[in-house]
Symmetry: C2
Subunit: 456 residues, 2 copies
């Protein structure tokens, strides 16, 4: 019945997602502030139309949080859905084949910023709810908490959950913001990396100088920044910040073996990215490098003259955005502090440096022996015909560890994206197969979660 | 008489320069193309008004060259004035205290892009010519060749001088595009560094990636570019490109002593730039580092996300603009080739690199035992009351060695700027004292050059 409703409403479900994708809700850039609110209102309206008892826009010091709920029966288990309606900045715009906020469907995929991360994946929950409600199949109570600041650190969400513990009371948190291995290889994410994101500024002379008049005699902050960045990792790909690895949880031999048993083809991986060689920490496989090891990447760098042509300037300042992915049991605040101290300590005398934290998040591992995991696994089995593989993802959903700490709730990371969906990149997209199959699987999760709860 | 005319016309001379400075003739940026031509027309008109026999706009494949002349008597010596009416890009605009193309006078200085480099210095020659013509004091024939592509490599000037050798026949080339040591310490530049300017591109994966999903497993082109840049210089400040120093002319002990005898206060230098320490090649003083040693500076770097906030991207590409200052007897084309080969050779397997030359120029040394140098020295003595000190400058005027090669002519580098004029930087300015004193000194050069020529 529910599946029939989903199939019959395919075009409507796609059209409604497209309308949401048209709203440029870029949380990082203040010029999109109005659009971010517009997206929140769209989510609120969608919840009400789908049949929520109530749906409200909760103000924060930043972008609002949308909260909605449908309490079928206080005796039934309650699922708290978390997702976000904000998106990453879309630049560089010139690398998109079609404008990022004018969604198009090509080869059975929707192309738009946020198509997968996370509008597409979040919206599946509202559509699954609508289908269950319309077909009288709601087996659990459901609450929705959809935020607008995931891409900028979820600072205000933390305040919100601390202040609304009762309202958010639930049995499990369900999140779709991760990827499966492949469309014929479903998987469930059971580990996530944390994040520490820094912006650094290196200042040399007090003004931009002529590189002919001063070059060779005055330290160039770009050269110095390059040296400092280079020194952050050694030749083996180890990060050189003192204390950085102190708390890293090392996996046992069997755990590593299980991890490396996941289907993975290095040649295809390299070919798909058009690279001759992969590069990472010595002694670990590619799956381990993105799953269980911490990393450091420069996400952006700028300084001096970057326009057309040539300008012989020795600039006053150079900047970089540097982020570190963290694993259990590293602590984001502690790593931010270690980075800041180290970066200051390696700055040579001829420059001044500043390191400012952007946002962070803690690494998380979710249990695989829970009722919720069993329900998710059963939902995949029923809809995909295959037992999903538990995987560890490189990405970060910092809020997962916070939910555990503040609300005492575990999360199930039932994502339906693919690594090739180009999230955070130009030409982000989301497969229509994944979108529709996800809606179906979510509805089955509700059913299995209710059934397994009643039988325990 | 001539000096009186100059003094009486002070305000007019300043107003006319301000009108020229209002034209944003940025040669590097194609969107200013029309303004570059407008500046050329202003120069042409100024020459005619000042009393030139003719002044014409000579088309090239790029921006035009203004040629003008006044032949008083074929028997008299001829001075060929070279200068440029194009300017460096003005960005970053936000660091200017007043808009770069709205000149203002503050503390007896004109603030505007090009105030010193080279509109202010070039225009002194037109005003000195006007003053001599108006007071019947022209002692030499004078030709003007004012180009619009100095800041982008003077490619078309080379074609022009090769095609117009007869028209440009002269006894000496006079150029004001350099600095004096201080307003109480006049100097004449006798050495200039050459230039090789490269743009490099490092490509990692074929698209921007999510740093959480791929970070740690795929080489980040920004990190790689930083490593490559860092490896271009060793800890002693020596450039590591094989063959780079092979042709560098080493100065003798006495030559180095003479050079270091020039007035220079390291503490004041550091204080003025607000730096704790200078940095340069081991074994050389600051004056030597900018005067007689080749250097390598990153003039610009960019890649990844550089906007507001945080974006966790592992970018596909990173870029830098890198320039090298060259000394006698290095060859710009050869160094460009050495750099390109070396940069390709140090690129690790996990990236692709491209190195594209922007423009170059040869180093030059001008004689101090010539009639022209004696005339310049006498002109300074008469107007400043001091014998000018011969100095070597770090900057490059690539055209000087070309003039020697193609026209067989030496140049006298009689500049009146100061190192603190912030050329190529925000808040470029030029002292009114320097502007007016320069006009006076140029007129005296004409007088002494004629006198010394007739006596030899």
């Amino acid at each position: 019945m529910t599946k029939e409703y989903i199939d019959n409403n395919r075009q409507k479900f796609i059209d409604e997602l497209i309308d949401l994708l048209k709203i440029p809700s870029v949380s990082a850039d203040s010029k999109f502030k109005g659009n971010v609110r517009q997206a929140a209102e769209y989510v609120q309206q969608s919840l009400l139309t789908a049949g929520a008892d109530r749906a409200e826009i909760c103000e924060t010091e930043g972008h609002p949080i949308v909260y909605g709920e449908k309490i079928v029966d206080p005796q039934l288990p309650t699922i708290l859905v978390y997702g976000h309606y904000d998106v990453q900045p879309a630049d560089p715009y010139e690398l998109w084949d079609s404008p990022p906020f004018e969604p198009v469907i090509k080869d059975e995929k929707i192309y738009a910023r946020g198509a997968c991360d996370d509008k597409g994946q979040m919206f599946m929950h509202i559509k699954a709810f609508e289908a269950m409600k319309a077909t009288d199949a709601l087996a659990c109570n459901v609450k929705f908490m959809i935020e607008g600041e995931e891409e900028v650190g979820s600072d205000n969400l933390e305040v919100f959950i601390r202040e609304n513990k009762e309202k958010l009371a639930a049995d499990i948190i369900l999140i779709s913001d991760t990827a499966i291995i492949a469309n014929d290889t479903p998987s469930i994410t059971v580990g996530l990396r944390g994040l520490s994101y820094m912006e650094v500024e290196v200042t040399g002379p007090n003004r931009d100088l002529h590189s002919g008049v001063y070059g060779g005699a005055v330290a160039n902050p770009i050269n110095i920044l390059c040296e400092m960045i280079t020194s952050l990792m050694n030749k083996d790909g180890h990060i050189t910040i003192p204390g950085f690895y102190d708390k890293v949880a090392e996996l046992s031999g069997p755990e590593r073996e299980a991890m490396n048993a996941a289907p993975f083809n290095l040649d295809e991986y390299k070919q798909e990215l058009d690279i001759k060689e992969v590069k990472g920490e010595k002694g670990y496989t590619t799956l381990e490098r993105v799953g269980i090891r911490p990393t450091l990447d420069v996400n952006g760098i700028w300084g001096g003259y970057t326009g057309e042509g040539a300008k012989t300037v020795l600039p006053s300042k150079a900047y970089a955005k540097i982020s570190m992915r963290l694993v259990p049991n590293q602590d984001s605040g502690e790593i931010t502090e270690l980075f800041t101290q180290h970066f200051q300590s390696i700055a040579p005398d001829y420059v001044k440096v500043k390191a400012t934290p952007h946002h962070g998040g803690e690494p998380a591992v979710t249990p695989t022996d829970s009722v919720a995991y069993a329900a998710a696994s059963a939902a995949f089995e029923e809809s995909w015909g295959k037992t999903p593989i538990p995987t560890r993802d490189g990405g970060s959903i910092p809020i997962v560890s916070l939910f555990k700490e503040v609300l005492g709730l575990d999360s199930v990371l039932m994502g339906f994206g693919l690594d090739s969906d180009a999230i955070h990149s130009p030409n982000e997209h989301y497969g229509l197969f994944n979108y529709m199959k996800g809606i179906e699987t979510i509805a089955m999760f509700h059913k299995h979660f209710a059934k397994l709860n009643s039988s325990t």
